[in-house]
């Protein structure tokens, strides 16, 4: 039995493949004057295209054609579905688009939401690309009142509190 398992190891290795680091970052910055949280989600364009296409196909919305003609609407729809912010009571906050910006190989997807009660106690869920890669790791960095909070999300994680 032990030898059989040992012999199976090389076979398992042959079918496995090397692959890049699957990580995305979302930066959340609180603007106390506007009482608004501005979110910048940084995702590799090729991955975002695949994920937005799959989401559009499953929800019968605008399909992302191919680079560089990515309809913002499809990306925003996907980003809103995969990135969520809830208030202290657990109610989902509406996220408005503030534009998408290509930066190198990445797309910076900008969302914003009004947080009249301030950022403390907000809950965030960052599931961008979880539907694409089982080993996707997402990071949220939130900045408010001179503080900087980092949260790490892996597949299966739900909402996490910012405080």
């Amino acid at each position: 039995m032990g030898i059989a398992r040992l012999a199976a190891f090389p076979l398992a290795l042959v079918v496995m493949s090397a692959h890049p680091l699957h990580t995305s970052l979302a930066e959340m910055i609180y603007d106390p004057a506007a009482k608004e949280m501005r979110i910048s989600i940084r995702v590799f364009v090729d991955d975002l295209t695949k994920a937005s296409n799959a989401y559009a196909a499953s929800h019968r919305t605008t399909r992302v054609s191919s680079l560089p003609l990515i309809p913002d609407a499809a990306i925003i729809q996907y980003a809103r579905a995969a990135f969520m912010v809830a208030d202290r009571g657990g109610h989902l906050l509406s996220l408005a688009s503030c534009g998408n910006k290509p930066v190198g190989d990445l797309m910076w997807v900008c969302l914003r939401t009004s947080v009249p009660a301030g950022p403390v106690g907000l809950r965030v869920s960052h599931k961008v690309l979880f539907d694409l890669y089982a080993d996707q790791i997402n990071i949220v960095q939130a900045a408010y009142a001179g503080k900087r909070i980092s949260l790490l999300f892996t597949s299966g994680d739900g909402f996490k509190r910012i405080d």
């Binding site: 032990g2 030898i3 040992l6 190891f9 090389p10 290795l13 042959v14 496995m16 493949s17 090397a18 692959h19 890049p20 680091l21 990580t23 995305s24 970052l25 940084r42 590799f44 930066v103 190198g104 190989d105 990445l106 089982a134 080993d135 790791i137 990071i139 960095q141 900087r148 909070i149 980092s150 949260l151 790490l152 892996t154």
Partner: protein, 202 residues
Amino acid sequence: MTSELFTFVQLGFRHIVNLEAMDHILFLLALAAIYRPRDWRSALWVVTAFTVGHSITLALAVTGAMVLPIKLIEFLIPVTIVATCIENIIVRDRASAPLGRRYRPMFAAVFGLVHGAGFADYLRNLFVDRIALPLFGFNIGIELGQIVVLAFAAAFLLAADRAIRYVRASMPDAATLRLRVLMVSTVVMIVATRWAIERNPW
């Protein structure tokens, strides 16, 4: 600051221990293949040298001090694995090799330079404004992950030794070690060669 550091320690750790990211695991397995349990200090030195190597290029590439062609780096990563396996198979007397006991850590550090450049491409664009702390945390996580992988590699190599002895009970220790090195290095070399062919940039 603590949460930020810990987050990036986790990111580095998870990247190394991720079973789908087999290139780094196989490189560590190839590095560890020549060691016996009593050589654990030497193995740890080699892995730490690898961390030092990849930390240097990671820092240079992420800060923009060095721009590297990613297609070439992606190709060179499996090439380093193949080269390590060939070294495992060919070199039998490392004590008399140039640089003596420092030879293998230096070898690992040089190959670490290539692997660090591979990490950098994916981190550079993501963390453009604050680099130092994420980079530091990521490197700590990588080192911790490597120690865990090394422990599993040691267990796997011991199991390989036992399997060899089960088949050839009378085989001397030195011959068992040699056969294990040949078996592990050959399998890892075949896998890495396939990756190198797939990633051929030309």
